[in-house]
Symmetry: C2
Subunit: 299 residues, 2 copies
């Protein structure tokens, strides 16, 4: 089954303590779509400007990503610049130029409306609503977010949480939203906002899934060097949704392994600037790392 993904499509200029990378392919939808493409057909919704490099369109196509929902508008592509600190756990935004994103009105091609799996990757909650409004009875809807929307669009986000099956956020966003630092104590509060499933991402410490069958502690694949963590969270949820969409049977039965596949997909994402490493791997590379992670955690 297919995954519909809406999110940002951008150019990212990234500084790390080791290097500077101008105008990489960026955006939550780009990372999530590439990650999901290893498992299932992907339909991407987004907008880019006329300056968007052809090579990035080719890259989407190389991954078999359907682009009928990608608008190319007069003007400039959304451009984000950021800088990472030495330990890669903190970053600061240097510049955000919205460009064509400022007036983005996502429109679903008719053929996309009944897509069974919907990933509302990180983007303004109003746009996430707008996409969800155009879908027809999806089987499973996941939403990601970021601190910015907690700060400036909280009512929209709260309303969204009553419409999704899975909500994905990181530990600091969880603390901000629930006013509870302990992630285990925060989980019931997050469920009370609506979603049946909640995943709290813990960066290099993995993630925690909470759902009707209790908790699952999902490990991160251990990396001796993180080149650039940009997009890792998007790749995680993209890989997860791709894996879920690819399989038959119930969600519940596949969800834990879906987190594991999301986790290893995200690990590759961290190993190169932007999505450069992620776009060079194969499904077999992912399988090898899932097998390795199994070995690393068995007791």
């Amino acid at each position: 089954m297919s995954v519909l993904i809406v999110g940002s499509t951008a150019l990212d200029s990234i500084k790390t303590p080791r290097a500077e990378h101008p105008r990489l392919l960026g955006g939550s939808a780009s990372y999530a779509a590439i990650a999901a493409s290893f498992f299932a057909p992907v339909r991407m919704i987004g907008v880019v400007g006329e300056d968007f490099p052809k090579k990035y369109l080719q890259l989407y196509r190389k991954h078999g990503i359907h682009l009928d929902g990608l608008q190319i508008k007069p003007g400039k592509t959304f451009h984000w610049s950021g800088e990472y600190e030495a330990n890669m756990n903190r970053r600061r935004t240097l510049k955000t130029e919205l460009g064509v994103f400022e007036t983005f009105a996502p429109a679903l091609p008719a053929a996309y409306r009944a897509t069974p799996f919907v990933l509302l990757a990180n983007i303004a909650p109003a746009l996430q609503h707008h996409v969800l409004d155009q879908t027809r009875r999806p089987k499973f809807v996941a939403a990601d977010t970021m601190d910015l929307w907690l700060n400036i669009a909280l009512p929209d986000l709260r309303r969204l949480l009553r419409r999704v099956d899975l909500f994905v956020l990181n530990d600091s966003e969880s603390a901000q939203l629930t006013r509870e630092d302990n992630v285990i104590a925060a989980l019931p509060r997050l469920h009370r906002l609506g979603p049946r499933y909640v995943i709290i991402k813990l960066g290099s410490h993995g993630s925690i899934l909470s759902g009707p069958r209790g908790l699952f502690l999902c490990p991160a694949y251990p990396l001796p060097r993180v080149a650039d963590p940009t997009g890792a969270g998007d790749a995680f949820v993209g890989g997860l949704m791709g894996y879920l969409a690819a399989g038959g049977g119930g969600i519940e039965a596949r969800l834990r392994r879906a987190l594991i596949y999301g986790s290893v997909t995200a690990s590759f994402c961290c190993e190169g600037p932007g999505p450069s490493r992620l776009t060079r791997i194969t499904r077999a590379d992912l399988e090898r790392r899932v097998k390795a992670l199994t070995q690393l955690t068995r007791f």
Copy 2:
């Protein structure tokens, strides 16, 4: 088989955002010995003053801890006061009164010299050496430490690392010792200092074991409330060494499960002020939590 444990034996006065607890039983040897006692006979080496409450001696005895190596000296017991921040991940020392610890010269009863498992819990590296000098061909030696010794006794600690099988430290100590923030990249550097096995503790995120058979990612048991994390690291390594000592067969075959048992022992430690919760559980409670942790991590 028995475990010999040397470390501090103290009174702890602990402030948390919720409560204040004066003169609890404290010290790395106390926590480690109680934790190990669920699995194997424990021989404790330490020193207390004449002010040391009788009820704490009774508590050691209740856990079957052999006290022939516990000196009771004229003067005051080592007293530590500390305060935890709201999220419990940081603490600051308010007062340290060494008391009888200032002149502590650990002496091994003759019957203890050939104890097969030796845990050098957190204490000055010179004292750890001094105990190790008195042992006879132990089967397995583990050492724990703290940032203080990295700051004021680094040459002693480095010399110790060439004499131990397992070195246990936390992520910030690892970063300080290796000048490498990434724990996975730090591990080879730590092995180069001597120990065949290294464990880096990650607090509520679990721990990582590195050894000849590669890495093991050990989860922490998820707790919705941490009453007091004091001694959790000591309980972890105590439980680990107790479990190792209890079993037949090789170290390598039992080590992963030993970390799991250490981890759940530490989780109980966090659930009450000082060792109050740890001293009220049974082996069956530990087994239940190991089973639960297995469920929480299976995929």
